[in-house]
Amino acid sequence: MSTTKMSKSLVYMKRYWILYAMLALPMAFFIIFRYIPMGYIQIAFKNYSIVQSPWQMEWAANHGFEYFIKAFSNRDFLYALRNTLLLNFLDLLIGFPAPIMLAIILNELAFKRFKKFTQTVVYMPHFLSWVIISGMALQLFAPTTGLVNILLNNMGFESIPFLNDPKYWVATYIFLGIWQSCGWNTIIYLAAIAGINPELYEASAVDGASRLRKIWHITLPGLRPTIIVLLILSLGQILGSEFDRPYALSNKLVSEVSNVISIFVYNNGIRGLQFSLSTAVGLFQSVVCVIFLFAANALAKKSGDRGIW
C-alpha cells in the first residue's frame, strides 16, 4: 500500500470510525441471535443429545435424513402441513383481494370527513392482539350468550358453533383474518392510488367514462405493480405459518384443522423435547418459503413485472 493511500484511509478511519462503532451492537445482535442459531440447524440431521454440542452429535440414520423421513410419516405433521397450506391458500384467495377492493371503495368515497373517520376505524383491528381478538370472538360467538348467536336465534335460526366445529372454525379463522388486517392493508393500496396521475381521470371524465370503467381502466392498472409485489410476498409465505393467530383462536375441538406447522414445532419441540424432529420440520418450512419466494419473483419478472428485487 502506498503511503498516500494509507494516510488517506487513516484520515477516513479517524473521521468515520464512529459509524462502525454504532454498527457494532446491531451487528452483534444479528450474528448472535440470527446467525448462530443457524449453526444449530444441523440438529435436524443429527441425533440430539443434551450433553453434546451440535458439532459433536452423531449423524442420524439414512444419511442424516432420518428425521425428515420421520416427519413425513408422522400423521400429526401431515395434518399440520395440510392445514398450513389450506389456511394460507384460503387467506390468499379471499383475504388478499379484500383490501384491494376496500381501498378502491374508500378512494371513491365522496364525503371526505367520513372517509377519514372510516379509515381511522378500519385501521383499529390491526392494533389488537390475537389473544384479544380471540377473546372477543369467544364472547361474540358464544353459543347461547354471544351477540351473533342471540341475533341468529331472534331471527329464528339455530345457533352456529363458529369456533367449536372444524368447518365453521376455518371460515371464522379466515373471516377474522380479514377483519384484523383488511383495513390496515388498504394503506399501501391507497398510497399507490394517490400516486396515479390525476390527468388520466380527468381525460376519461371528458370522454364520459363511468365510475366502473375508470376503476377498471385506470385504478386497477395503476395498482398492478403494488399488487404484484404483495402477491409475491404472500406466495412466498404460502407454507409459512404465523403462530399467534392459529394458537390464540384454536381449541381442543378443532385441533384437526387448527394445528399448523408452527404449532406442531412448538408442541413437539419445546413441549415434547423432540428437538431433531422439530428442527427438521422448521428447516423444511424455511427452505420451502425461500424457494416459493424466488419462484414467485421469477414468475412475476417473466410476465413483465418488476418483482421484489
Binding site: 389473544v131 369467544l138 364472547q139 351477540l147 371524465a205 403494488t226 428442527t279 419466494l293
Partner: protein, 289 residues
C-alpha cells in the same frame, strides 16, 4: 364538475358500504364493553347486546383488586417502554451508518442484515441458543432476542435517505462528525418515522405473547397477553380463580370482558393520534421494501 344521477346514487351506495365496515369494526368492541359493564345474570340470560344491562362496575373492581392482573399490566407497561426505547436505539444505530455512501463494507453489512429477512434458523435453534445463553426464564428474553426488526431498519434508512444530503455536508463543513450530524441534523427531522416505528415496536411488545409462552415459565414475568390468554381459555371460573389468583369466582364472564377491555384501551387511546405518521411509515416501507 356536474355529477350524473347514477354517480350520485353510487356515492351513497359506497357510503353505506363504508358505514357497514365501520360498524363491523366498532360493534364487537362495543359489545365487549357492554358485557363488562353488565350484571353476570343478564349476561347468562343472553340479554346483553350493545348496551349494558344491570349497569355495574363489579367486574372492573374485581380485576383491579387482583394483584396478579394489575402487576401484569404494570410489568407489561414497563416492558413496553424499555423495549421501545432499546429497539429504537438499536434501529437508529443500525440504519444511520448505512446511509453513508463511502462507508467501506456497506454492501456486506447490508447483505448480512437483509439475508435474515428471507431465511431464519427457526424456533427450535433459537430456543436452544437462548437456553445456552441462560436467557430462558430470564425477563431479558422478552427484550433482547427481537431487538431489531429488519423491516423497520429499511423504513428508517429510506426515510433518512430522503433528507437532503446538502444539510449533512454543510454540517460537516462546520466540523461536525457523524454522531453530531445524527443528533442535531437527522434526528430532529425524523420525528415522523421515529414516532411510527416507536408505535410499531410498542404495539408489537404490548400485543406479543408467543415469546413468553415459549421461553418463560415463571408466571411473575408473564406479559398481559399471556395472562389474558390463560384467563380467557380457562373453562370454569374456579379454574380462573385458582390459576390466576382471582379471589371471587362467579363473575367470570363479565370479568373476561373487563380483562379484554383493560388490555385493549391503552392502544385504542394512542393509535388515532399517530395515524398521519404511521401511514407515511407504511408507505415508505412499501416503496423500498
Amino acid at each position: 364538475m356536474i355529477k350524473s344521477r347514477s354517480h350520485k346514487i353510487g356515492d351513497w351506495v359506497i357510503a353505506a358500504f363504508c358505514l357497514l365496515c365501520v360498524l363491523a369494526c366498532l360493534l364487537p368492541v362495543l359489545n365487549i364493553l357492554a358485557r363488562s359493564l353488565s350484571s353476570a345474570d343478564a349476561l347468562v340470560k343472553g340479554e346483553v347486546l350493545l348496551w349494558p344491562v344491570g349497569l355495574n362496575f363489579d367486574a372492573y373492581m374485581t380485576v383491579l383488586g387482583d394483584s396478579k392482573y394489575t402487576w401484569s399490566l404494570l410489568w407489561t407497561a414497563i416492558l413496553t417502554v424499555i423495549v421501545t426505547l432499546w429497539s429504537m436505539f438499536m434501529t437508529v444505530m443500525c440504519a444511520y451508518p448505512l446511509i453513508y455512501d463511502n462507508l467501506k463494507g456497506k454492501k456486506i453489512i447490508l447483505a448480512i442484515i437483509l439475508f435474515t429477512m428471507y431465511f431464519s434458523a427457526g424456533t427450535i435453534p433459537t430456543y436452544l441458543l437462548l437456553k445456552e445463553l441462560h436467557l430462558l426464564n430470564n425477563p431479558l428474553v422478552l427484550i433482547i432476542p427481537n431487538s431489531i426488526s429488519v423491516f423497520y431498519v429499511i423504513i428508517m434508512r429510506s426515510f433518512l435517505f430522503g433528507i437532503p444530503e446538502s444539510l449533512r455536508e454543510s454540517a460537516e463543513l462546520d466540523g461536525a462528525g457523524p454522531l453530531r450530524v445524527l443528533v442535531s441534523v437527522y434526528l430532529p427531522l425524523s420525528m415522523p418515522v421515529l414516532a411510527t416505528l416507536a408505535l410499531f415496536y410498542a404495539v408489537g411488545r404490548w400485543n406479543g405473547f408467543s415469546d413468553a409462552l415459549m421461553f418463560m415459565s415463571d408466571r411473575t414475568y408473564f406479559p398481559i397477553q399471556l395472562l389474558l390468554y390463560n384467563i380467557l381459555n380457562s373453562i370454569t371460573s374456579v379454574e380462573v380463580a385458582t390459576q390466576e389468583g382471582f379471589s371471587s369466582p362467579g363473575l367470570s364472564e363479565t370479568i373476561k370482558s373487563a380483562t379484554v377491555m383493560f388490555a385493549t384501551v391503552p392502544i385504542l387511546l394512542v393509535y388515532p393520534w399517530l395515524q398521519r405518521y404511521f401511514i407515511s411509515g407504511v408507505t415508505i416501507g412499501a416503496v423500498k421494501g
